[in-house]
Symmetry: C2
Subunit: 220 residues, 2 copies
């Protein structure tokens, strides 16, 4: 039995839950509040982030991208055409590029900050950084969101499955920004309209207005 | 002939240069100043980050982790025991965990901000965010550095090759923080001494004082 340490609001956990669903893998789920820094969880993943997958007799598998590779390597071959990491080398590159785009870039610039400010901070105690959302961070993330939604729009219009000719991690990872999800509560009607603007120039490389994540000292 | 778009100061580019060196792959290198947002480069990688690997007849391969998988899948089997992603499934998980630790976490918390503040900003025009380094960012990155160096120290003391029984991407990716490199100029003698402290508690999961990257609007 596979155990998934996750959080309902964590975008990376959601990607792994979708992938497990596509693969038809039943998993025991454990909700992990990473800000509590549970000792047992830190031993599984010293980075103290969700998701983490644990299977008997195997080391813990931390992080969305590592889990995606692990699931493919342990289940992919028997799944044949249903595997989410295609066999052709060029398509694998594109699927992994999209995974990185959404799990890393989109997370850093949009979904991570929105999830933290709007959802996690309500649950976190003040000593762990909880409290009122930082409106400046939300404003920056919403600004970035428009560019990302436009890029997603371009991907969806020009490709059937985002990468390759069928279902893949590339589509799984891009699926959740396209649905009404908790972090979308940060968007108002204007944002959604802006996101529908033609995105050709953007896709051709004029995506300029991303926020640069800046480092601040931990205030725990 | 493989072409590598890179920058001499970019930590991810350095990881890929080391991996190419280990594999004995000759590559043509093109120095890319990502802040110039060259149209031709944006077509190769819309995220506009180095490194990118290009081979004839194949799509461009962007990002350190995607390149690592690509090199292994295109050259790994013929290299046999010299491949940098071992065959055993548990070791693959640990190698990928370490790649992610250094390429994502260490980069976000230490090497990325130090490289940007101390090196890139000198070369960048003011319109692209160049100018004086942000001392608050440098202070946060140096603070984080101590914890990371202590973790690296623990890894080095308890494992011969960091992951698995021989050379791997896990060791390649951890190699550069251990050497005197441009971003280390941000460290003074006190930092280096602090990093030598025993790190057992840290490795057991008390790594608490990381900076949380915060999002700020793009000031380009």
């Amino acid at each position: 039995m596979l155990t998934l340490f996750h959080h309902p609001f964590c975008p990376h956990s959601r990607f792994v839950r979708l992938a497990l669903g596509e693969y038809g893998i039943a998993a025991r789920t454990v909700e992990e509040r990473v800000w509590e820094r549970r000792q047992e969880f830190l031993i599984l993943n010293p980075a103290c982030t969700t998701p983490v997958v644990v299977e008997e007799g195997r080391p813990a598998v931390p992080g969305a991208a590592v889990i995606a590779e692990y699931l493919d390597e342990t289940r992919g071959i028997e799944l044949g055409e249903l595997r989410l990491l295609p066999r052709e080398i060029g398509t694998r590159v594109e699927v992994r590029r999209l995974m990185s785009w959404f799990n890393d870039k989109f997370f850093a610039e949009v979904s991570g900050p929105l999830t933290t400010e709007r959802l996690y901070k309500r649950q976190m105690p003040t000593s762990a950084g909880g409290g009122s959302p930082d409106t400046e961070v939300i404003r920056a993330a919403r600004h970035n969101m428009r560019y990302h939604l436009a890029y997603i729009g371009w991907l969806v219009r020009t490709r059937d499955w985002l990468a390759g000719g069928r279902m893949s991690y590339g589509r799984t990872v891009a699926a959740f920004p396209c649905r009404r999800r908790p972090w979308r509560h940060g968007l108002d009607g204007n944002d959604r309209r802006a996101a529908r603007e033609p995105a050709r120039a953007l896709a051709a490389g004029t995506l300029r207005h991303h926020a640069r994540p800046q480092l601040r000292p931990w205030r725990g």
